[in-house]
């Protein structure tokens, strides 16, 4: 809860400091299609499985340096299922449809330095709050703070990477995500 409160305060401070300046972020639509690896671990076993996680993020530049939006993602998690019993000494994993969802807020740093109508780089701090819904295993909250960078090789298409710290379902605290970023 403290982490969430901290994230909220920092976001508000950044919001106030950015108000009233001009940049290329305001009024911009940004779509990110990203990928990351989500490790899940079986109970009673040291084995873990890498699960592919795909995520789509839609942001809109509300202010000169701040964009907010939503995200949704999908994975097929291989996780321990207590409802299925296996031979003694073994573990049983089943694949479960897993969806991710939440809200997102990015604070862009470069508009502090670059006064232009457009720029090929993005550098931002990112705050996310949302949840993860696993079939037969319920909903779990997730939140994180991180930093991201994007480079637009083409006018509207580029690549991005984000590194986040926070609370995730699988008890990992750090997560790297990368993918394609579009801006209009």
């Amino acid at each position: 809860m403290k982490r969430l409160l901290s994230a909220f305060i920092i976001s508000n401070m950044l919001f106030i400091s950015s108000y009233g300046q001009e940049s290329y972020i305001k009024g911009r639509w940004n779509i990110k299609a990203g990928y990351s690896v989500y490790k899940t671990q079986f109970l009673y076993s040291s084995k873990s499985v890498d699960n592919n996680n795909y995520r789509l993020e839609l942001n809109y530049g509300l202010l000169n340096k701040i964009e907010t939006g939503i995200y949704a993602g999908y994975s097929r998690f291989m996780i321990y299922d207590p409802w299925i019993s296996g031979p003694p000494g073994s573990f049983v994993g089943t694949t479960c449809n897993t969806s991710f969802y939440g809200i997102n807020c990015n604070y862009h740093l470069l508009p502090h330095l670059i006064k232009a109508d457009d720029f090929r780089f993005d550098l931002y701090l990112s705050g996310k709050y949302g949840g993860i819904s696993i079939k037969r295993h319920g909903n779990h909250p997730e939140y994180s703070l991180g930093t991201g960078v994007a480079f637009y090789l083409f006018r509207h298409i580029g690549a991005y990477a984000e590194y986040s710290y926070g609370k995730f379902y699988n008890n990992d605290n750090f997560k790297l995500r990368y993918g394609i970023s579009l801006k209009f």
């Binding site: 789509l56 449809n97 232009a116 457009d118 579009l182 209009f184």
Partner: protein, 817 residues
């Protein structure tokens, strides 16, 4: 005496407006795009200051009687309204050219004809291109499937089912020429390349008399003519295929051409991957292509001559080789598709008479070739099996429109088709006596006339009759098909409609679904398989609100079908059977009743539609389900489509589509029993087979189908040439719903088959669901190019090298042009 009085009154009603309007003149002609000369179908021509008007037909032709000193208002969505002042005293022919609206960034090829028509589904080119799709590229048939009364067979399928009809009951007309096979990729893509399409109308009922031969619908697709202002084209690439378009004028005066093509990109990749896969000794590849071309010549303002060609094929190839102790080779080649060639002459003979004459040839064939050889040091054995099923159609038609009086239009004509059916032609190299192919020829000739009469300015009645004569090798049939269509305008914005039609179909399509390899076989009507017939009754209402910003319609229908045919239970194809009629079940009956609702928002930043259909469709065959009536295999009681499109700017738009359909029926097992085997397994133990007891056919229902699709379309101008380019991003099945394609019984969900004689743990048969498409993100890109020189571009390109590097880098990093 009373009858004579009624006839006299009717004649007076018809002729009175003609007598009273002696000072009026008839204006006839066509409406076209000013830039490229393309005909505009469904353009509105209204006498200024009145509600008296007409719309252009599928040839862009119109004919209207107005006061000689009045003016005509001509309008068409996406074009500037035009006003043509008149000061004439005799009948005149004019060609009207409209300018595309300046703010229109999208290439104006076609817009939805905003005519008030009933039982016709239509979709605009722009709606079609913005609709999210699996392959990222627009699909004509999939877009039409969103309209009420039109549904698909299974998820992703481009096979159309209209008002409870079979997939083989749709007449696909490509520039008025019937096309036989209309799918690629086992039904996941339609053969119609959107780049060449001008207009699409789907008649679901109330067919005009000029249409016949198929029970359920007419998909009337008009091709573009090719831009006569200059050479231009486009290139597109998506997940499934790459495509091109090239069009422009030719050296002969008043001629133009358009050529389009598509080709899959995956076949060489599939071949490479299959040959490289671990331990593989086989190569597998699948692909398709299609080519469309049209040549148009306009010798004068009154005549248009055109030639069309189309050729498209799907192909599946498989090679395998085993070199263990001997050389074993296996080759499988499946090809299916059709080709078409036609020539047409449209003539505006006088201000009252218009004619269209056409000759065409179409051929569809399904070919399967299998070669096997086994070579050892001492011996070589070979086997070759070839199977071909084909149908070809040589047609001639002469269609005329005569504007007899101001309120009386007569459409009449003659259509004749010579068909050659070869349902089953097999060759097996190991057989000494090869059987000759069973060929059936048939001649289908139709005479038709439609009388469209307007009474009292608000009632329009169209009464028609189609006489069809069918002659096959050992069978002949004469069919009378009455048609009736009546419109009552209750106010300026609201119209009521009632229609009736009878129609016959002289060829049946036997098909099985679920396989990428095609199994469509066309069967001619004959003594054992009589022609199918249907009667359809409809009632409709159409309304518009807020200056046509919103429109809505309701249609109710009842359709009765007789003498339907299908494969007998347990059969999936006709291959290798000389007596193929024994595999066909005929004498089927079908009934479909339904209500369709459609609400559209036509203008503004937000546009879209809600379509809903409530239907019930049944079938009854003498030897299926013990002769009892059962639900049609594709009966979906509820179908709902919700489409919202939002235009952020001229460049950027968002499209959302939500589809909901009731689950399809399936035949459920109601019990199981065990049969003792006659032999023991390999351990010497006896074992049992498990068998299921099935209930009534289609007595249970699968899970409901629903999904959400999202698409973003972004238009831009390319940097140097300033050509228009379009990016389409779409996500199919956004919330990853696992929709059922079919249910099946097995011991597991992996497809592995459990055989008790193999031993192992007993597993009972259970019901499983097959789903096809999870969430599928796709992207496609299309760029339009123009070969006309642009002086401004040359200057800019020349000056580019003079800009210092630092400035150029600064422009690049700050994305300045």
């Amino acid at each position: 005496m009373r009858t004579q009085l009624i006839i006299l009154s009717l004649v007076f009603l018809i002729l009175a407006p003609q007598v009273m309007a002696q000072q009026q003149v008839r204006i006839s002609g066509t409406v076209k795009d000013k830039n490229n000369g393309e005909i505009l179908i469904g353009a509105n021509i209204v006498e200024q200051g009145t509600i008296h008007g007409i719309t252009t037909d599928y040839n862009g032709y119109f004919s209207i009687v107005v006061r000689g000193n009045s003016a005509l208002e001509i309008s068409y969505l996406g074009y500037k309204k035009d006003l043509v002042g008149l000061d004439i005293k005799k009948d005149t022919i004019i060609n009207i050219f409209l300018n595309p609206a300046a703010e229109q960034l999208e290439e104006v090829i076609v817009s939805a004809p905003r005519t008030r028509r009933f039982n016709i589904a239509t979709i605009s080119y722009q709606q079609m291109t913005q609709m999210p799709s699996i392959g990222g590229k627009p699909d004509v048939i999939k877009s039409l499937q969103l309209m009420p009364g039109i549904s698909n067979q299974n998820e992703g399928s481009s096979l159309m089912l209209v008002r409870g009809g079979d997939p083989g009951q749709n007449l696909y007309l490509f520039d008025n020429v019937p096309l036989i096979y209309v799918n690629h990729l086992g039904g996941f893509l339609s053969v119609f390349n959107p780049d060449i399409i001008n207009n699409i109308d789907v008649y679901k009922g109330g067919f005009p008399s000029r249409y016949g031969g198929k029970l359920s619908s007419v998909v009337d697709i008009t091709q573009r003519e090719g831009d006569n202002s200059g050479l231009k084209g486009s290139l597109g690439i998506g997940i499934t295929d790459a495509s091109f378009t090239l069009e422009g004028p030719l050296k002969v005066k008043n001629t133009s051409f358009i050529l389009t093509g598509r080709k899959t990109m995956i076949d060489p990749l599939m071949a490479l991957l299959s040959s490289l896969s671990d331990g593989s000794n086989y190569i597998l590849s699948y692909g398709f292509h299609d080519i469309n071309g049209k040549f148009t010549w306009k010798p004068d303002e009154k005549k248009t001559f055109s030639v069309n060609i189309y050729q498209g094929d799907d192909y599946l190839n498989y090679w395998s080789r085993n070199n263990a102790n001997s050389t074993e080779k296996y080759r499988l080649n499946n090809v299916w598709g059709n080709w078409l060639v036609s020539a047409r002459l449209n003539s505006l003979i006088s201000s009252k008479l218009y004619a269209s004459n056409r000759i065409s040839f179409t051929r569809y064939r399904l070919k399967e070739l299998m070669k096997y050889s086994l070579t050892s040091s001492s011996d070589t054995s070979k086997l070759k099996i070839r199977y071909i099923s084909s149908v070809q159609d040589l047609s001639y038609s002469s269609d005329w429109k005569y504007n007899a009086f101001k309120n009386w239009i007569i459409d009449f004509g003659l259509q004749t088709s010579l068909f050659k059916f070869v349902p089953n032609n097999s060759y097996i190299s190991s057989q000494k006596d090869q059987k000759s192919a069973d060929i059936t020829n048939s001649l289908e000739t139709a005479l038709y006339a439609d009388n469209k009469i307007t009474f009292l300015n608000n009632i329009t009645a169209t009464m028609g009759l189609r006489l069809v004569n069918y002659i096959a090798t050992d069978y002949a049939r004469f069919s009378l098909e009455p048609r009736m269509n009546m419109n009552l305008r209750v106010s300026e914005d609201h119209i009521l409609n009632a229609s009736y039609m009878r129609i016959s179909q002289f060829s049946h399509l036997a098909f099985t679904t679920g396989s990428i390899m095609n199994n469509e076989v066309w069967i001619p009507a004959g003594r054992k398989v009589p022609p199918a017939q249907s009667d359809q009754y409809t009632l409709g209402w159409n309304g518009e609100y807020r200056n046509s910003m919103f429109s809505s319609e309701i249609n109710l229908y009842y359709k009765n079908m007789h003498d339907l045919s299908a494969f007998r239970e347990g059969y999936a194809n006709l291959m290798g059977d000389e007596n193929w009629t024994s595999k066909i079940e005929s004498g089927g009956k079908g009934r479909s009743i339904g209500a369709e609702f459609l609400i559209r928002k036509n203008t503004g930043k937000w546009t879209g539609f809600v379509s809903y259909a409530r239907t019930r469709t049944t079938r009854q065959y003498p030897n299926i389900n013990n002769g009892r009536e059962f639900l049609f295999d594709y009966n979906r009681p509820n179908s709902l489509s919700l489409n919202v499109s939002y235009k952020f700017s001229e460049k950027l738009s968002l499209n959302l589509l939500w589809v909901y359909q009731s689950g399809l029926p399936y035949t459920q097992a109601i019990g199981r029993y065990y049969l003792p085997s006659l032999e023991n397994d390999y351990r010497g133990n006896s074992y049992y087979y498990e068998a299921l007891i099935y209930g009534d056919r289609n007595s249970s229902k699968m899970r409901d189908y629903h999904r959400l699709d999202m698409g973003i379309s972004y238009s831009k101008l390319t940097k140097v040439k300033k050509n228009k380019a379009i990016w389409n991003f779409s996500v199919y099945n956004v919330y990853n719903r696992h929709n059922p394609v079919y249910y099946y019984y097995n011991t597991n969900n992996t497809g592995e088959i459990f055989m008790p004689e193999w031993g192992g743990e007993y597993k009972p048969l259970s019901l499983y669901q097959l789903s096809l498409f999870p969430i599928v993100p796709t992207i496609s890109y299309k760029v339009f190019f123009d070969f006309k020189p642009d002086e401004n571009i040359d200057i800019k390109t020349k000056n580019k090298s003079k800009i210092p590097f630092r400035q150029r880098f600064s422009n690049w990093i700050y994305q300045n042009n």
